[in-house]
Symmetry: C2
Subunit: 649 residues, 2 copies
C-alpha cells in the first residue's frame, strides 16, 4: 500500500474536450495576423521585418496578454503524490477515483524545484508545447526543405568551404562559447550568485553547442529578394544547413558525456566515447537519410521502363516521396540516431537524384508541399518563441550570464568566420573577400534549432538559465541583425543585381557586369578544386546514370568487362539524353522554389543563373512532356511577368 | 492520505523515447506498400481494389502479424491505484516514485471491465490511436476536401434531391436500423445472451445513426475513372458528403439524450431537447463554417483593389486559406459545435466564393494540398481499420448482432433510396431512373465516418459490440460492394462515356449521344426547379458580386436607392467581367482535382463539361495572368496528352 501526499486539485472534466481547440486557435490567429502583416509589409517593400520576426513579435504580445490578462484558474495543481512501491514510472497509470478508473499517460520526469511551476495559470500551462513536438513535428519539414532547396551547383562548388565552416567552425564556436561561459560561470560562483548549483564545464560546452546552430533565415530571405551574390548566399545557406546537423549531434554527444569521476576533471575515455558517438551518430544518420533517398530514386526511376509508369500518377508519386522521406526521419529516430540529420541528407539526396526522375507535376507538388510545410512550421516556431518569453514559467534571468552569452556568441562567430576564411583563402582560387566575411559574421543569427535544442531540457536550473538566455539571443539577433541586413549590405558595398523592369537578357547581363562584384564570374568553373572534382566525376559517371535518367550511359563510363551489368542498369533514355546532362545539376533552383512567394512581381534572375536554369527547365518540359500526363500539364515559365498567352500573340 | 492498491508494473523508461517512431514507421510502411500496390493495379487497370481497400487489406495483415508474432512484453500493466480523496481526475498528476517526480497527463476514463484489456501485448496497445485523433486530425482534411471538390453546378441543380436523401433519408435510415437492431437485441436478451447488459432503444438508435453515414469513396473513384453519368455521380457524392454531417450531429444528439426516468420509456421533453440540439448544432456549425469562408473570400477579394495584392504572394494566400479553414474547425470545436460539419460547409463556401478570387497559383496549390492531405488521411484511416480488427483488444463478436446489423443496414438503405426516389420523381422533371436507384442502393458503403463514430466510445460492452460490428460492415461493403462496382455498372446498363484515344470534341459528343443514357442532357438546365432557382438568383445577384470579382455589378442588381453602397461594394473588374460570369460556377472541376492521379494518360472529359471548364480555365489564365506572378506562372492545359511546346511549333 502506498501513501499519497495530497494538496488538493480538482479539474473540471468538461474542460478537457475543447481545450486543444482553443490553444490551436490562438496559434492560428497569430499566424493569420503574421501573414496579413507581412502582406502589408511586402506591399510597402519594408524589409526590416521578416515574417519570422513578425511572428515572434505577435507571439510576444500574445504571451504578454495571456500572462497578465488571464486569471489564475488552476490554483492547486502542484500536487505531488507519493508512491513508494513503484521503482520507475509506468507508461500508463490507472487510478481509481470515487469508483471511476482514470487512465493517465506518462509525460515526463520533473525535478522537485519545478513542482511549483505547476501552480498558477492554467492557460499558460496549456500554451506550453511538449518540447518533443519541436523535434518530431516542426523541425523535420523545415530541415528537409532546406536540404531539398539547396542550390546544388553552387553548393558543390563551395563544398570545401562550407564543410570547413560547418564542421570545424561549429566545433570551434562551441568550444569558444563554452570557455567564455565557463569563465563567467566561475565568476558567478565566486560571487555566490549561483549558490548550490551544479554547473560544470560540460554544461558550458552544452550551451556552446546549442548556441552554435545558426539560422539566418531572415538574412537569406533578404539576400534572395535582393539577389545578393550567389556565392555568398550559398556559403551562408550551406553553412547554416549543415551546421544545424553538426550542432544537433554535438549537443546530443555532449549531453551524454558522463565522466566516471569528478565531472570537472577531463576524462579521456569518456571524451573519446563522446567523439565516437558524434561520429557514429552523424555517419549513421547520414547513411540512413541518403539510403532512403536512394530507394526513392530507384522506385521513381522505374517509371521509365515500359512496365510501370509511376509518373502518370503524380499523387502516388508525391505520396511515396513524402512517405519515404518521412520514413528516413522515423527510421533514424527508431534506430537511436538523429532524425533531423537523416532528413537533411535525405532532402539533399532527393534533390540530387530523385527530383530528376519525378514527373513535372510531382516536381511542382513536392516543392510546393515542402515549401508550405516549411512556411507554416517556421512561423509556428517563431511564434512560439515569442509566446515562450511570457508563458514559460521557469525563466531564470541572470544579467551576468546573459551578458557573457552575448559576448561569447559574437566572439565565437568571429573565431569561426575570420580564421577559417583566411585559411580557406589560401587554398581557394576565388577568394572570399573581406566584405563577405563581415557579412557572414553579421549573419550569425540564432533561430529555430538553437531554441529547440534549448527547450528540450529545462529541468535543472542551469538549463533554465540557458534557455532564457538562448531565447533572448534569438530575439536580439533576429530583430536587430535581421532588420539590419539591408543597411549592412549597402554599408559593406556587397553587389546586388539591379532589379530592373525589362526582362531582356542583355540588359541584365550588362547590369551584372557593371556591378561592384569583386569576383570574376567566368572563373567559377574552376573553383573548389579537388574535392569537388572527385565527387563530381564519380557522381556524374556512376551514380547519376544508375539512379536517374540523366548522365552518360554506364556502358561508356564503366570498364569494358562491366558491360553486361552496365547495360542492365542504364536507362534506355540515357543514350539519347546525353545533351541534357549538363543541365540537370541546375534544375533544383532556389529561385523557382521561393520566388513566387518571396518577392514582388518582377524578379529578374541573375544573368548567368537565368540562362542555365531556364534552358534546363524548358528542355525538361519538352522531353518529359512527351510521356503524356493525362491532359494536365504543368508548365514552368520563366519570362518574368509576361503571361504566355500574350507572348504567343 | 490515500491508499493505493498496487499490482506492480514497471516500464523501462528508455522505451518512451523511440516508441512513437516505430508505430509511425509501421504506418508509413503500410502506406508505401499500398501506394506501390495501387500503382501496379492501375497499370493493369484492375479496378476491383481501390487504394482504400488495399490499405485496409495491408492493415489487416499487419494487425495479424502484430497480434500473433510479437511477444507479450508488458505483462502487469493492468494496475489500478485507489485514490479516495480526489473527487475527479486532475488534468495532470505529479507522482513521487523513489524520490523522482513524474508527470502524468489525463487521458481518459475507462470502465472497470476494460481494465483487463490493459494487460497484454504492449505493441498492440501502442498501435492503438487515441480516438480523438480521427475526429481532430484525420477527418477534417477529408471532409474539407469533399466540400472543396463538390461539383457545384450539378450539386446545386440536384440540391433538392440531395438534401432529401441526406436529411430525411439519413433520419429514416437511423430509425429503421434502430428498430431492427432493437428487435434483435430484445431477442438476444430473451435468450440470455446479453446477461446483465444495459442495452436501451437509444443505444440501438445510436448504432443506427453511426451506421447511416455512407462513404462510397471506392464507388466514386470508379465512377470518376469510368466517367459514369454526372447526375448519378453528383447525387451519390452530394448525398454522402451531407449525410456525413447529418450522421455526425445525429449521433452526438442521440448520445446526449438523457431521459429523466426509465430509459426505455419515451420522454417527450428529452426527445425535443435532442431534436433542438440537433438543429442548433447543425445550424451553428453551418454558420461557423461558412462565415470563416466568407471572411477568407473577403480578404482574398481585396487583392483586386489597388492597395494590396495578396495574389502576388501565393504562399501567403495559401497559408491564409489553410489557416482560416482550419480555424473554422477549431472555432466550432471550441464553441461546442461540430467541427467536421463546420469544415464541410467551409469547404463548400470556399469553393463557391474564395476559389474565384485566388491567384491561379494558389488555386493549384490549395487543390493539390487538400487533395494530398485527403489522400494520406483516407489511407491512414482505412489502414487503421484493418489493423484495428486484430489490435483492438476489447472486440465482442456476436453472430446474431452482426447478422442483425447486416440485415438492418441493407433494409435501411432500401428504405432511404426507393421511397424517396419515388417521391422525388413525382417532383423532378428529370426522373431518377430505376437503374440509378439500384446503383445508389448498391453504393451504400460504410467507411471512415462510421468507423470514427464507432471508435469514439468503446467503453461499455454494447459499444464494443457495435464497434466490432461496424468494423465488419465496413470491411464487407468496401471489399464486396467496392470491388463489385464495375460489374454492377455493366449489369445495370448505366451509361459510361467511352474512353477514347482521340481527344477530339465531336467524337466525344457523339459518343455521349450514342451512349445508353436514359437522360436527355439538354433538359438539365431546367431541373431542380424552385429551390435551385431561388438560391441561384440570390447568389448570382448579390453574394457573388460582393464576395468575388465575378457576377454582374451590384449597381445593376440592387434597387436604385442602394446605388452608393452598391458602387462601394462592387469590384472595379466586375463591370468588364460580365461575360465570365457564366463560367465561374464550373471552375472547381472535379476532373481537374483528381484526374492527374486518378487514372491513365488519356482522360477525355465528358463532352459538355469539357467545353465549359476548359473555356473557363483558359479565360481565367489570360485575365489573371496580367496581374504578374513574379516570372513564375502556372498554366493549366487541357489538351489531353499533347505538350504545349509541340502545338506551338
Amino acid at each position: 500500500m502506498e501513501k499519497l501526499k495530497k494538496y488538493g486539485s480538482v479539474k473540471d472534466e468538461d474542460q478537457f474536450y475543447h481545450q486543444g481547440a482553443v490553444e490551436l486557435l490562438v496559434f492560428n490567429f497569430l499566424l493569420i495576423l503574421t501573414i496579413l502583416t507581412i502582406w502589408l509589409f511586402k506591399n510597402h517593400r519594408f524589409r526590416f521585418l521578416h515574417e519570422t520576426g513578425g511572428a515572434m513579435l505577435y507571439g510576444l504580445v500574445m504571451g504578454l496578454i495571456l500572462r497578465y490578462a488571464t486569471k489564475v484558474s488552476d490554483v492547486g495543481s502542484g500536487t505531488v503524490y507519493e508512491c513508494e512501491k513503484l521503482k520507475s514510472g509506468p507508461s500508463t497509470l490507472l487510478i481509481n477515483i470515487t469508483n471511476q478508473v482514470y487512465e493517465y499517460q506518462y509525460k515526463r520526469e520533473i525535478s522537485h524545484h519545478n513542482v511549483n511551476g505547476h501552480q498558477g495559470n492554467a492557460m499558460l500551462q496549456k500554451m506550453t508545447f511538449d518540447p518533443s513536438i519541436f523535434f518530431n513535428i516542426l523541425l523535420p519539414p523545415i530541415i528537409f526543405h532546406a536540404g531539398y532547396s539547396l542550390k546544388k551547383r553552387h553548393f558543390f562548388r563551395n563544398l570545401g568551404s562550407i564543410l570547413t565552416y560547418a564542421f570545424l567552425g561549429t566545433a570551434i564556436s562551441c568550444i569558444v562559447i563554452g570557455l567564455i561561459m565557463y569563465g563567467f560561470v566561475k565568476a558567478m560562483l565566486h560571487t555566490g550568485q549561483l549558490k548550490g548549483w551544479e554547473f560544470h564545464f560540460t554544461d558550458c560546452l552544452f550551451f556552446g553547442s546549442l548556441m552554435s546552430a545558426t539560422d539566418p533565415v531572415t538574412v537569406l530571405a533578404i539576400f534572395h529578394e535582393l539577389h545578393v551574390d550567389t556565392d555568398l548566399y550559398t556559403l551562408l545557406f550551406g553553412e547554416s544547413v549543415l551546421n544545424d546537423a553538426v550542432a544537433i549531434v554535438l549537443t546530443y554527444s555532449i549531453s551524454i558525456y558522463r565522466p566516471k569521476e569528478n565531472p570537472n576533471v577531463f576524462d579521456a575515455a569518456a571524451f573519446f566515447q563522446s567523439v565516437g558517438n558524434f561520429l557514429g551518430i552523424f555517419a549513421g544518420s547520414f547513411a540512413m537519410g541518403s539510403s532512403y533517398a536512394v530507394v526513392t530514386a530507384l522506385i521513381s526511376f522505374m517509371h521509365l521502363t515500359k512496365f510501370t509508369k509511376l509518373c502518370e500518377f503524380p499523387m502516388l508519386e508525391t505520396g511515396l516521396f513524402f512517405l519515404l522521406s518521412w520514413s528516413a526521419f522515423l527510421s533514424a529516430e527508431a534506430a537511436g540516431l538523429t532524425g533531423i540529420v537523416a532528413v537533411l541528407f535525405c532532402g539533399i539526396t532527393q534533390a540530387h537524384y530523385t527530383y530528376n526522375n519525378l514527373s513535372p507535376d510531382s516536381k511542382m507538388r513536392t516543392k510546393q508541399l515542402f515549401e508550405f510545410m516549411n512556411f507554416l512550421a517556421e512561423n509556428v516556431i517563431f511564434c512560439y518563441m515569442g509566446l515562450a518569453l511570457f508563458t514559460f514559467q521557469n525563466h531564470i534571468f541572470d544579467p551576468l550570464f546573459i551578458l557573457g552569452a552575448f559576448v561569447a556568441v559574437f566572439v565565437a562567430r568571429a573565431c569561426n568566420i575570420y580564421p577559417f576564411s583566411f585559411l580557406l583563402n589560401l587554398g581557394r582560387k576565388k577568394k572570399i573577400p573581406r566584405n563577405f566575411q563581415h557579412m557572414m559574421m553579421f549573419s550569425g543569427l540564432r533561430g529555430a534549432i538553437a531554441f529547440a535544442l534549448a527547450i528540450q531540457d529545462t529541468e535543472s536550473q542551469p538549463k533554465q538559465m540557458m534557455f532564457t538566455t538562448a531565447l533572448l539571443i534569438v530575439f536580439f539577433t533576429v530583430w536587430v541583425f535581421g532588420g539590419g541586413t539591408t543597411p549592412m549590405l549597402t554599408w559593406l558595398q556587397i553587389r546586388l543585381v539591379l532589379v530592373g523592369i525589362d526582362p531582356d537578357e542583355d540588359l541584365k547581363a550588362e547590369a551584372a557586369n557593371q556591378s561592384t562584384s569583386t569576383l570574376d564570374k567566368n572563373t567559377t568553373k574552376a573553383e573548389s578544386a579537388w574535392l569537388f572534382r572527385i565527387w563530381y566525376g564519380f557522381d556524374h559517371k556512376y551514380l547519376k546514370p544508375i539512379l536517374t535518367h540523366a548522365g552518360p550511359p554506364l556502358t561508356t563510363t564503366l570498364p569494358e568487362w562491366c558491360n553486361p551489368i552496365a547495360r542492365l542498369l542504364t536507362s534506355p533514355s540515357a543514350y539519347g539524353d546525353q545533351l541534357k546532362d549538363d543541365d540537370t545539376d541546375y534544375i533544383i533552383n532556389n529561385d523557382e522554389l521561393t520566388e513566387n512567394y518571396g518577392s514582388s512581381a518582377h524578379i529578374p534572375v541573375p544573368a548567368q543563373d537565368r540562362t542555365c536554369s531556364t534552358q534546363a527547365t524548358n528542355k525538361e518540359d519538352i522531353n518529359e512532356g512527351d510521356l503524356g500526363l493525362g491532359g494536365y500539364k504543368l508548365q514552368l515559365e520563366h519570362t518574368a511577368g509576361q503571361p504566355q498567352m500574350n507572348s504567343l500573340a
